[in-house]
């Protein structure tokens, strides 16, 4: 399969993830969107690694997956703590930084 197909898939997944981050009101949904965007990046890395016959892309992807796992763990923990304190995870109500 040509490289363009992988890149198109990655762009599609990234756009879906971004759409999710922007439109979801639920904090968990936003986190899911972020996961999708990160995976789009992973697809790109693997595709380019394969295309250039360079193992660096695969290596990077392994690191990204590991970091993503950690990120999700911390992110979900924060969401749970917020839920305990505020009894909600609706993003509309989490606006302490409003000017």
């Amino acid at each position: 399969m040509p490289l363009g197909a992988y890149l198109a898939l990655a762009a599609l997944v990234f756009a879906i993830g971004l759409f999710g981050v922007l439109t979801r009101r639920n904090a968990v949904g936003i986190l899911l969107g972020i996961e999708l965007m990160l995976n789009a990046v992973n697809i790109n890395l693997v595709a380019f690694g394969r295309f250039h016959a360079d193992l660096a892309g695969v290596m990077f992807t392994l690191f990204t997956i590991a970091i993503t796992v950690a990120e999700v763990a911390v992110g979900l923990a924060i969401v749970i703590v917020i839920f305990r304190v505020r009894r909600t995870v609706d993003a509309d109500h989490l606006d302490l930084l409003r000017g």
Partner: protein, 617 residues
Amino acid sequence: MTPRVGSATLALLVLGLPFASFLLLAVVRPLRRSAPAAAAVSIAAIAGSLVTALLTMSGAAPLAAQQSPSTTWSWIPADGGPMATVGVMVDDLAMTMLLLVTLVSFLVQVYSWAYLHDEPRTSLGRYYAYHSLFAFSMLGLVLAPTFLQMFIFWELVGLCSYLLIGYWYERPSAARAAVKAFWITKLGDLGLVAGIVMLWSATGTFDFWTLFQMASLGSLPVEALPLIMFLIYLGAVGKSAQFPLHVWLPDAMEGPTPVSALIHAATMVTAGVFLVTRAFPLFRLTPDLLTLIAWVGAFTALLAASMACVEIDIKRVLAYSTVSQLGYMMAAAGAAAPEAGFLHLIAHGVFKALLFLGAGVVIHVFHTNDLFRMGGVRGSPWIWLPFVVGTLALSGVWPLPGFFTKEAILAGVLDARLLVPFAMLSVAAFLTAFYMFRVVCLAFFARPHHAGHAHPRVPGLMNGVCWVLGALTLAMGLQQAFFSGHHEISGPGWLPGFSLALAGGGILLAWAMYQRRAIDPARVARALGPIEWMARRRYGLDGLFAGLYRGVLLAFARLIGWLDRYLVDGVVNVLSAWTLRAGDRVRRLQTGQPQDYVYGVALGTLLLFVLAQWGLR
């Protein structure tokens, strides 16, 4: 007389002692709060200065030709030599003034101790601190070798004058008089500072000696000189109370009487005359200005003498008399006879201090300044004798110093062919004798208005100082009469008789009007009509200045205030309101929603892509 130069070290010591005393009194609070200690420090310092001044005078060495009498150190460093120098100029003029200033300061400070004995102890320390500062400033002014240094000390004596006039600052009239004196002299000082700066930009130096050398070599820029010297003269007009800036001096009598004796009679007010005498080699190059100085001086002498004749406050009579005598000195300088004016300055310094301190005794005895509520102490000659000696000296009676110096001035004015000023000065001399004996007759010899002053008590210290000054006056006169063989200016042969006749006429008239009551003063006043009416109202000059102040200065201040309040403040307020409103708008961008920020990031990235692809070719 060959010019002489004194030791700079001694001169610095003369200057340093009162300054040390001032610092001590200003910094050490317990010393200042305890009156006897403060007075002792101040009097000891000025006594040391007096002795040192005497040593300076006696140890003076002859000055070689082309040798500078100044010792200077560089002050403001600049490329190619210092911009200004400081130092001392210990020539004959300065040494004579040193002696006068330290002597009168010393006597006045001693006298003040008795005169202000009933003052609160705590404020007396302040009084002596001011006195020490004044002595330092005046001595510095006298010793200044450059215009710049002189100007600094010039302002310092003005400050001391302000502080001491307002010594009783809780009294509104004293506070107002202090401010008035400060304002009016500042008016003249504006001219002085402008003149000094212009002189510097024209010649590149402040130094008197360098300027005198340039003047004698004829290398001064003559075309700019008249304006410069006129501006410098304006400073002297303010300080030495010349018409029309004389209005502050009579009001300055609100201060304690010893202050009037020291600052407003003997020393500070003569600073203007001293300035003109000091800078005379420069004034000599502007003959038209000299003529103006002579006219203004003579007119001041006459005007002030006429006002003194109708004044009923003994201190104000003496104040007008001071203005009048300052006019005399200025007229002498204007007639190119500054040495006559300077001699009169020295003699006047001694006997006018005597008169003021004598007036202090009178005020102490009668508890009033009003001449018509005094009298009846003919039986106590120890009170009136020194005052009468001073009065005779001021009137110009042989063999007292006023006679010789006044004659020298009249001769100088006549020599310069200034006939109208000569006439004005002659009338002023007549009036001087008249108003001074009016004071003597009313204050001492007139029938008492109420009994109870048969045996007035005066502190011995006060009377002692008066007697010392009286003896000094007499000694100066006798010295000039018998031991000073030569006269630099000799007038025509009829002049001594003429001036004696003027003095005698004035004395006789006053005696007839106020002692014998042979002539009714009211009838004389009616005969003089408008002049008397004007003199009583001080020729409207005080009113004119007050009107100018209120009408012009306050209106201007109000206009500026309005502009500031509504125009400047308005612009600032509008700007700040706009800033606030804009900030409020921008604030709304910060919603606190992370998703909105992500929108911004995404849109920005997209924009960058678009620009990278199509925008930036």
